[in-house]
Amino acid sequence: MNLLNLGASGVSAARVNLETTSHNISNVNTDGYSRQVVSQKAALPQYNGFGFLGQGADIASVSRMFDQFVEVELRTSTSTISSLQAQQNALGTIDNMLTDSSTGIMASVQQFFTAMQTAAANPTSIATRQVVLSEAQALVDRFQTTNSQIEELRQNLRSSVDVSVNQINTLTENLAKINRQITILSDGSAKVPNDLLDQRDKLVVDLGKLVNVNVVQSDDGNYNVFLDSGQALVVGPSSSKLYTQTTQSSTKVMLDNQFTPDTQISYTDIRGGALQGYLQLLEQDIPRVQIDLGNLAVEFTDAVNRQHALGVDLTGQYQQAATQHYLDPATPSGPYMAQDGGLFQDLSQERLTAENATNITDEALAMQLAVAHMAVKVGNPAQLAMSSGVIATSQVSADGSITKPVISSVWQEAYLHQDNTTPFVGKEPNARLFDVLPPPATVQIPFDASTNPVFGTPTVSVAGYTATAISKSTTQQGVWEFELTSTAAPSQTVKLAFKAESLPLTGTQSLTIRARDPATDGVNGMDNSNMLAINSLQSKPILASTKTGTTSLLAKITDPGFTRTSTMEVFFAQTVSYVGSRGSITDVQLKAQQNLNLEVTKKKQGLSGVDLDEEAANLVKFQQAYQASSKVIQVAQETFQAILDAVA
């Protein structure tokens, strides 16, 4: 009586099919779920003399529709997207901070110089001087706000790295556990726990979102998970741990190797995942912006301070600037001395730290601290040194007539922090003429209308000084300049500039200039030429372009070929351009990856996804099969009953 068995096998096969279909329907929205299908086969037939008789249906296996290759593609693209998204968010934030034209850094620099110009036109007004100080403070605030926003972003990214590392550790542990469970539950290729396999693949995808990994399936079905650099995260039932090592400047992700020394995972070692994005931002982009911002702050304040120190304030006094900070390339470790004067806080100590840094993140830390330490030192508007520290002695002769040409203004020009390309000795201390050639010693400027140029080489009223021939300034109209060097050790050089008017067409004349002596000159002949000299810094190249490199981004004074080529706005524009380019590349890549990801997802879904219409059809199909097999059993029962009835 095989009919009953046949019917029973059909019913049970249909029931398995119905259950699998229901399982599919239930999991239509489950993340990482792969559609399961039942593979059903005819049972082995029985030989009955006349031939083989079918024995009904057997369930061979329930398997999931899954393609390893599509899965790898999907994982890689998801990893890349996570990395790009992490970068896009941070770069967008920086971009917004830097580009805003009304509140940006450059706007505050412009406003500062505008205030200086206004004050220069009205140098004795306390009100306009106060505006200079207020704008200087606003500039410092603007730098520091941007700086602290970037630093905040950096700290956030650091904690994101920590969080990612923790998540990675949890995921790898779970992967190892699930590997073990699968091994225990599996029995050959036919009997596999499909849903556990799905969960494991889901874990790998989640892991891929954090860090791109490669999966190698071993013969026993275990997933072995490796980083791009080859280190194993999961091998069968065991997993390795990542941990972070943080200093003030850097965050390192380390792989715990148990017995051998631990390995550092750098952003260049991995090809995707949010962790890669965070690390790249931390090791490349954020330092770059911090270094640029700091460099701008250091060079700007240094240049302003140097010129400011050469002038005298509203009361005719020099501002305190007894010693200058400078870094001698021959002995790049210093010495540095404290400086109390200056319009802004001196940032040379931070510059030294950055100069001596051996990696990018240390440079960035020093530069970030430089901006954090920025401050306006002058508190009293009267102390702004707007007037020149050099004066032309009276050009009115005894009979009341005026000797011509007339020196209409004369001032000392500061040297920027020296570099290797210009002779270093004597210029760096940025000494005042008052200290190098104390009054009453004077400098005589010979004028001869018949020669070209009309001014010759100056002479000094006392011995021990040499001067270069007077030449026309290459940067300013109507300005003549020369350098004066004291030959006694330590040799010091100062650069003097003057404007001459009412040049007669014939004759010779000797014009006299000397340093302003606060004790005797008081407030006589105060002008605004020192302020004009500070103002001209705005259009002078005071910055060297940022380098590209793996260990250093800051253009260092000790670098061979260090040259200042950029004005502040050009320098800042290249920073913005850097952030913008990185952002725009990230945007484009992200868009491409998202489209790719969509295609891969479609492919994966095409194979593994659940289609409710299909399942509905299956439901009907297997229900009918179930009903049909039930009918078989009913027929068998009825047939058997007929026999019983006949017997009875």
């Binding site: 009341g400 005026i402 940067t475 002949g525 913008g580």
Partner: protein, 393 residues
């Protein structure tokens, strides 16, 4: 390809998000009228825009500096024109005073007028700018550049310095706001002493009358550049002493004598030649001193020198005024060019990061398009998502 539920929903969401994003971008562009919102939209243009903005800011500040310079120079210009008028008035006085027939009372009245006119003149040189700064003091803008006293004689002295207050009107260019007053009107009204005072002519041998005095200065020898105030001061003295002052007569005779001595000896240069020449003119034809006529001659010569001095002073003021005018021109040019440049810079920035008219129209039409597309996606999505076989089971 099999289409599954997840594909269907996923696709719908993806495309709708994408369209939302492009809508958002277009919305930002249209509402801010900017093509480049963040520098990642167009890094090259954004960084260029930063440079251009900085240059434009600087240029506009140069324009405002030039405006300031123009205004202040205009004040200077007006002042100098008034100064010319006042000098003309002084000159009229000097011409009137040249008549030797005037009574002492007439001269006293004229003197008091001269004092008033001079106060007015010095007042003009002590003009301040709108900000309250003295414009003729060089860089000493806080204190009065000219000091005037009129007793016993008119005395004017310059207190300022010789520097100029400059403002930047270009990256490599400055323009002077102030003019040192001593280059305009002179340093002092005091005539310098002779380098060696002339000793009195000895009484013996008595070839020459022995009552000629020692002379320490030539009151008519004005110094270059200081003629204006020296002439006024001299005019004041002449009005006070009149033509018949014995002391000044003697001085005149003394210098005439000295000149004739030097001429006879053939010494050149002869600093007193003017006296000899004056005495030799047909009007006077003065023989050897002393003569009773030389008092009037002295007065007339003084007046002639005063007129010359006033003319020289007038010339000097006018020439400075010309310089001021040319500086005003320069300031005006900077203003004009700056205004034009400003338009160019604005245009350039607009080109770099802004949304021009065409772009604006395009953006609006793209916005419409994107909106339509989004609505279409939403509708399709909603109708597809309603389809299910389960509805029919």
């Amino acid at each position: 390809m099999r289409v599954t539920n997840a594909t269907q929903f996923g696709l719908g969401v993806f495309y709708m998000q994408q369209k939302q994003q492009s809508l958002q971008k277009l919305y930002e562009q249209i509402s801010s009228k900017q093509r480049v919102i963040t520098s990642s939209d167009d890094p090259a243009a954004a960084s260029l825009a930063i440079e251009v903005t900085a240059i434009a800011d600087r240029s506009s500040r140069f324009v405002s500096n030039a405006s300031l310079a123009y205004d202040q120079l205009a004040t200077t210009d007006t002042t100098l024109q008034n100064v010319s008028d006042v000098i003309t008035r002084v000159r009229e006085l000097a011409v009137q005073a040249g008549k030797p027939a005037l009574s002492q009372t007439d001269r006293a009245a004229m003197r008091s007028e001269l004092v008033e006119v001079t106060k007015n003149l010095v007042g003009l040189f002590n003009t301040t700018s709108a900000e309250g700064n003295y414009i003729f003091g060089g860089t000493a803008t806080g204190s009065k550049p000219f000091e005037l006293s009129w007793e016993p004689v008119i005395q004017v002295d310059y207190q300022g310095n010789m520097q100029r207050q400059e403002v930047a009107v270009g990256t490599s260019r400055t323009l002077a706001l102030t003019e040192p007053g001593n280059l305009v009107a002179g340093q002092t009204s005091t005539v310098p002493l002779l380098t060696t005072a002339l000793a009195a002519v000895p009484a013996a041998p008595p070839a020459i009358p022995g009552n000629l005095p020692a002379v320490s200065k030539d009151p008519d020898a004005f110094t270059a550049g200081n003629e204006l105030f020296q002439a006024i001061s001299r005019l004041d003295v002449l009005l006070r002493v009149g033509p018949n002052d014995p002391a000044s007569t003697a001085e005149f005779d003394r210098m005439l004598y000295e000149s004739r001595q030097l001429t006879a000896a053939g010494t050149t240069p002869n600093p007193y030649k003017a006296y000899e020449d004056f005495a030799a003119t047909p009007d006077w034809n003065i023989p050897n001193p002393p003569t009773p006529d030389s008092g009037s001659a002295y007065y007339s010569k003084g007046m002639a020198e005063v007129l010359k001095g006033l003319d020289a002073g007038f010339e000097q003021v006018v020439s400075v005024n010309t310089v001021i005018g040319s500086r005003m021109n320069a300031a005006q040019t900077v203003k004009d060019i700056g205004t034009e440049l400003d338009i160019n810079y604005t245009k350039r920035i607009q080109q770099l990061v802004g949304l021009d008219e065409d772009g604006y129209v395009k953006a609006i039409s793209s916005y419409q398009q994107a909106l339509t597309a989004l609505q279409a996606s939403q509708q399709t999505f909603s109708s597809i998502s309603k389809l299910s076989l389960f509805n029919y089971l």
